[in-house]
Symmetry: C2
Subunit: 434 residues, 2 copies
């Protein structure tokens, strides 16, 4: 069956994935109206990854940090959005196989990003909690709250510890932000909500394989984030690897184990796979090798951008960091190159401009590395808030996030501590998913 999208005399660009890269590209292309644009995503919304941890920590609602794709393209008649999963690509036929039919393309843009890397440990993959989607963040929120409710009815000390302690694996921005936020909840929220529990018993561990946190940021930022975390009472273990997790105990390579039923896994990412992509196109971390025009080797009409793409340039001989800024800049350059293609101009090579990076540990505690200025603390935290507020899509999202932040700041209270799940369909029911 062919996908139900009208033929057009314009050439068709099919974009797989509505993350930072795919969405930015589609918006740029829609604006210029030189192509028919088909945007495929398995969700009907774009997710703002940098704030997932705040959803998990009950500080923001999922709806504040995601944006309906259809709403972004309401005025663009040449953009077709399909909520579907892409099953395979047939490069020789210039065709995608999706759950809603076969989709031909003139140009294909792969922007389907990366997912959590469990480094091949299937048990950990099954039992640890990842943080790569808003659904996973919501799942984590529900887990933390449910386990506290269970702890109330658990008289055995060791068992109760297992329910209350949390191990965060991975000392990148996500790991640092999650463990910092947990420490703040331990201090400000849990004692008020659970006066019956001794919240001093809650231990928060951050396990990092390397010898510093926030690899890729400056020495000052790494140092300062360590300092901030220990101020907040997070137990940071450097040079330590988690070797296994059986649902009750976390085992580490130094022989020690921690009893904890919740392991938050933020230790790395690996590119999503697509059937039909030749093995020869893939490189380390399952990334797709592209040239400076984001073209996949051997296929001039197939492009990859964002986390899934691996591109070398002079300043980045081992590829770019897998961050939002690279994705957005690659999307902009590719949009320009599609314009060049359309007009018969030559393509321009991509070049990454590092605008800096930042991470937040908690209230008044953030670290910011700008190319020419590094600073930490309260002002850095304010900058972090403003930059993220500015980046999020949608005026309403901005307003509601801002209000939530002000509210939480004034009241010291993340108020969304609700264990809500859409009703689980009874067996035999007509299911939503096809």
């Amino acid at each position: 069956m062919k996908i139900n999208i009208p033929e057009s005399d314009k050439k068709r660009i099919v974009i797989v994935g509505g993350g930072f890269a795919g969405l930015k590209l589609a918006l740029k292309l829609a604006h210029r109206q030189e192509y028919q644009v088909v945007l495929l995503d398995k969700n009907n919304y774009h997710q703002f990854q940098p704030l997932f941890y705040q959803v998990a920590m009950a500080g923001l609602e999922p709806s504040s940090i995601v944006f309906p794709l259809r709403k972004a393209f309401r005025k663009d008649k040449e953009v077709y959005i399909r909520v579907t999963e892409v099953k395979a690509v047939h490069l020789e036929k210039k065709q995608l196989e999706t759950t809603v039919g076969l989709c031909n393309y003139d140009y294909l843009v792969l922007a389907f990003g990366a997912d959590t890397n469990f480094f091949g440990n299937e048990r950990v993959a099954r039992l640890a909690i990842p943080m790569k989607s808003v659904s996973e963040a919501l799942f984590l929120r529900n887990r933390i709250l449910s386990d506290f409710e269970k702890a109330l009815s658990t008289t055995n000390y060791e068992e109760r510890q297992g329910l209350m302690d949390i191990v965060v694996v991975g000392g990148g921005p996500t790991g640092v932000e999650v463990s910092g936020a947990l420490a703040e909840m331990k201090r400000y929220v849990f004692p008020k909500d659970y006066p019956e529990l001794n919240t001093d018993e809650i231990d928060i561990y951050l396990i990092q394989g390397g010898d510093q946190l926030l690899n890729g940021m400056s020495e000052e930022s790494s140092q300062k984030s360590m300092e901030f975390l220990s101020q907040l009472g997070v137990e940071v273990r450097l040079n330590t690897l988690v070797t296994d997790f059986d649902g009750e105990f976390v085992h580490m390579n130094d022989g020690e184990s921690i009893r904890a039923r919740k392991v938050i896994w933020a230790a790395g990412i690996t590119g999503n796979k697509m059937e039909g992509m030749p093995e020869s196109c893939l490189t380390r971390g399952n990334r797709i090798k592209v040239n400076r025009f984001s073209q996949v080797e051997g296929y001039d009409d197939v492009f990859a951008i964002g986390d899934i793409a691996y591109m070398e340039e002079e300043a980045y001989p081992h590829g770019h960091p897998q961050v939002a800024q690279v994705a957005i800049q690659q999307a902009k350059t590719l949009a320009d190159n599609f314009k060049n293609l359309h007009r018969g101009n030559t393509l321009v090579p991509f070049s990454y401009k590092d605008l800096g990076s930042m991470a937040t540990v908690g209230r008044n505690r953030a670290v910011v590395d700008l190319p020419k200025w590094k600073f930490q603390g309260a002002f850095a935290w304010l900058v972090w808030l403003l930059v993220h507020l500015f980046q999020i899509l949608g005026v309403k999202n901005k307003v509601f996030i801002f209000l939530n932040w002000v509210w939480n700041y004034v009241t010291y209270d993340q108020s969304l501590r609700l264990i809500i799940r859409p009703r689980v369909p009874k067996s035999g029911e007509v299911e939503v998913e096809s």
Copy 2:
């Protein structure tokens, strides 16, 4: 195993259910500190039923209309909240059996309300979508949006109709509000989101068994709500009963069928059951018979209030309507009577004071019946908004709901059109529920 709650020299009141009745009672009792109060609910939040339909219609987030129980009782040391399901009551032992242990009581208050009544039709119960919890409302929202996405890829006209048409069963406030809101989405939201679909093809049916809508409200309100719904394009069928629903077709007692995959069931409620309650205590609609002091016949120390209670008084010889106002007033009277019990005073009988009722059909279209004044239209709509805003628990909820309403009013746009589900655990995973 005994429930993990300390013994107290105060008498223990156990309240089952944190709805309007149970929450109000617990708040009143907590304030007076004359008893140890144990509040049991299967959720960790109180739900504001009157706005479920706005969650389903993507106008409000679940978090805006629910309130964490723990937050309500933060300052009350004599209140113990347990998120649990009550499996049975042993009246002779004055003991409840819960999923977190056995719970003794000195006084028991049953406030566990009612659930959707499918009138014994199991297939309908399995396939139709109820609206009695915020989780169900969220499920409905996801279903509507998913089906529209599917309709985009459905070329067969009849099949597409099945995905787009919606049948609402039951002409009470919920049915009227849902069908009105759907009609407004059909007019203002869907054409913008789905320019590829012919949204004129969407049909919204409201099926009502009786010969008027909003039974129990005034003649004017019934009439006017009919008028409002037909202005909005809802097809109302009076004197019609749904006899069956097979997931594709809705069958009615006039021999007609409608092709629709979504049936929203708001046709009635039936009291929740609790094992151990003698059959002799139950009456029509599974309600528990109580005297004017809310006492269950034969058990001076067992009370029932709210939707689950059936009490006759002079002005209500067939019991009170199952509405929030009755629940709240019964809770207040019972709280006073617990004070009387504590102080050795005589109990006062309950007497319901009808403050009026209201329902909203859409923007500027509501009906209000006050004891001495009935009015409909834009002013009624404003009154409806203000009354509900006033009633909802929590300052933050009030602020966020108000902002959402203003936003939706100005933009004609319910912006929460997101199909989000917490990550479904993979098989074998440690599950949240015990």
